[in-house]
Symmetry: C2
Subunit: 346 residues, 2 copies
């Protein structure tokens, strides 16, 4: 059937062990040049392809990396995953991507599956702020890189966006437009992204002399349009003076806020401005085109994969997050507040 190492060895007139020395990773593990060439020729002629399964069984390495994501359907993760896959692929690794829907039970099951399959490392885009799985992975000193989200402890390899700076950009932009009543529809607080952006919002507002009160912040229980709608409705119904602008926990939440505005006969950006976060695909085409804080998604995936390759190769340094810089993309969902629009520039 398939051509094996033994076939190659026979044809080259050497022992399989020798053929292995020539053909496996190292390349030239002490084999004479002519022998090596004979083996390589034989391999070529027979169209030999090493059997990765057998190799894995023997070496307990698999040239495979497990990638856990919440949901590949979420447009955020397309580019992120491609960044990971392209980079790993170039290094000869295969990615096993599993969706967990933010369900810890599924995360655990996926983790076990991947472990059983002897993956050489993990890229986790699913971390919760306190994440037993991540703790365990570190405990067992597995090669792990967190992606996008990180955990509360900071002795772990991660690639994340600079949430603080991102929110600062958003707040500064709104302030520059003249907004003073700015609300925050935060993402889930058990995720680092949700929590960090919320803290950054408080700090940034405070910095511009507008310390937010309880009524200015509401927390969506997931990073989805539906959760965004529910949260923003709750904020508006709480009865405080309505905001003229909203910093949303992410783009999907921002879309949810847009829906609520429409429900209530309000218009964006005329009545309320909205800033999203991430700049996922198509945000330039929604109605109105979304002003948002762009994170370099593909790049994040790439960096995470590179880091992981390092760790797989044995690097033990840099157990600290890598923080990538965002940039504000101003589109049509932000404008001066209604009243301010009528006033002369300050």
């Amino acid at each position: 059937m398939r051509v094996t190492l033994r076939d190659v060895a026979d044809r080259a007139g050497v022992h399989p062990g020798t053929a292995s020395r020539v053909l496996s990773a190292g390349g030239g593990g002490a084999v004479s040049a002519p022998t090596a060439e004979r083996v390589r020729a034989a391999a070529r002629e027979l169209g030999y392809e090493p059997n990765p399964i057998a190799r894995s069984l023997r070496t307990s390495r698999s040239q495979t990396v497990g990638v856990l994501v919440p949901d590949i359907t979420n447009p955020l993760f397309g580019p992120i995953v491609r960044g990971v896959e392209d980079t790993l692929d170039a290094a000869g690794y295969v990615s096993l991507v599993i969706n967990t829907d933010n369900d810890p039970a599924r995360e655990r099951r996926a983790f076990a599956t991947l472990l059983a399959r002897q993956v050489d490392g993990f890229v986790l885009a699913t971390a919760h702020r306190h994440d037993a799985l991540v703790d365990e992975a570190i405990e067992r000193s597995l090669a792990v890189v967190l992606l996008n989200r990180t955990v509360a402890r900071d002795d772990v390899c991660a690639v994340v966006g600079d949430q603080t700076h991102g929110v600062e950009l958003a707040v500064a932009h709104l302030r520059a437009l003249g907004h003073t009543r700015v609300a925050h529809v935060a993402g889930p607080q058990h995720l680092s992204t949700g929590a960090a952006r919320r803290e950054a919002f408080v700090a940034a507002m405070r910095h511009v002399g507008r310390s937010p009160t309880a009524g200015d912040i509401v927390v969506a229980d997931s990073f989805t349009e539906e959760a965004g709608r529910r949260a923003f409705r709750a904020l508006l119904d709480a009865g405080g003076e309505p905001p003229t602008a909203v910093v949303a926990g992410n783009d999907l939440i921002a879309l949810g806020c847009l829906d609520v505005l429409a429900e209530r006969g309000l218009e964006c950006p005329r009545d309320v401005s909205i800033v999203g976060f991430n700049d996922i695909p198509l945000m330039d085409r929604v109605t109105p085109a979304m002003t948002t804080v762009r994170l370099p998604q593909y790049e994040m995936g790439r960096r995470a994969a590179e880091l992981l390759l390092g760790r797989v190769a044995g690097d033990r340094q840099r157990e600290r997050p890598i923080v990538l810089e965002p940039r504000l993309v101003v589109r049509a969902s932000t404008a001066p507040p209604r009243a301010a629009a009528l006033l002369p520039a300050a």
Copy 2:
């Protein structure tokens, strides 16, 4: 280190072979109930997890399926891939998803990689209408299911949308609105989706007594916004009487057409109506919300996975495509043509 079958056998006081009989797929391959129970207990106590690598090496099956997609970043493939993965996962299979960017060389490489890894079957969402890889796969009687796209030959297992019916719905809708000059910005003709929709367009227009001429149809060289823009510009620049409506090869092409309209100071749907195809995520939120032919993406993935599971289990029947029905989702990108809008209903 890790607990092996041998450990379980020792603890249960049986031979590894017996333990294997209890613990592997079949479940009860002629083992007495008490023995089986003892083995299962031992496995539970030790937290035994079978080593899939070893099992694969022995059985040359891997409980893994290779999934080739053009680009997971394309919103169409998120739901499709989830449908596949969820279904395979439920059956204990793992999906290895690889992006090929419609590059035959990458497709071939991915195929080889997957083959080397002993995947039990393939879901190919990358088929070209004449596809050497698919031919080869059939030749070698591998378990293969095509997804979304199919090939010219029809003796192959596939799950596709009913392109003909989909285009009929689009054309009927436009006709009902009063459009007579309807153009088609087709997708690539080397892909079944692009070709089938184009043929369907010709047939549907003919059916309503409006046989399209050469100037009514232009072909985009990929299913992207950019290709859509180029193609639609070419159509408009060709100098025929401009269309009042466009049936686009897919949603991304439709977005490209929208851009061209904007470039030229035309408005959708006031000046030109546009119908997309697929109803990918966020099409309900673009400007204007896209009228499009929805294909059940997740369901397509699910069906393909089910079919593949059948083939892996040995089914040899049904080497014909399964065709899923589309439905038209009318949104804001279609309206009566300008002139007709002023006339009384016919």
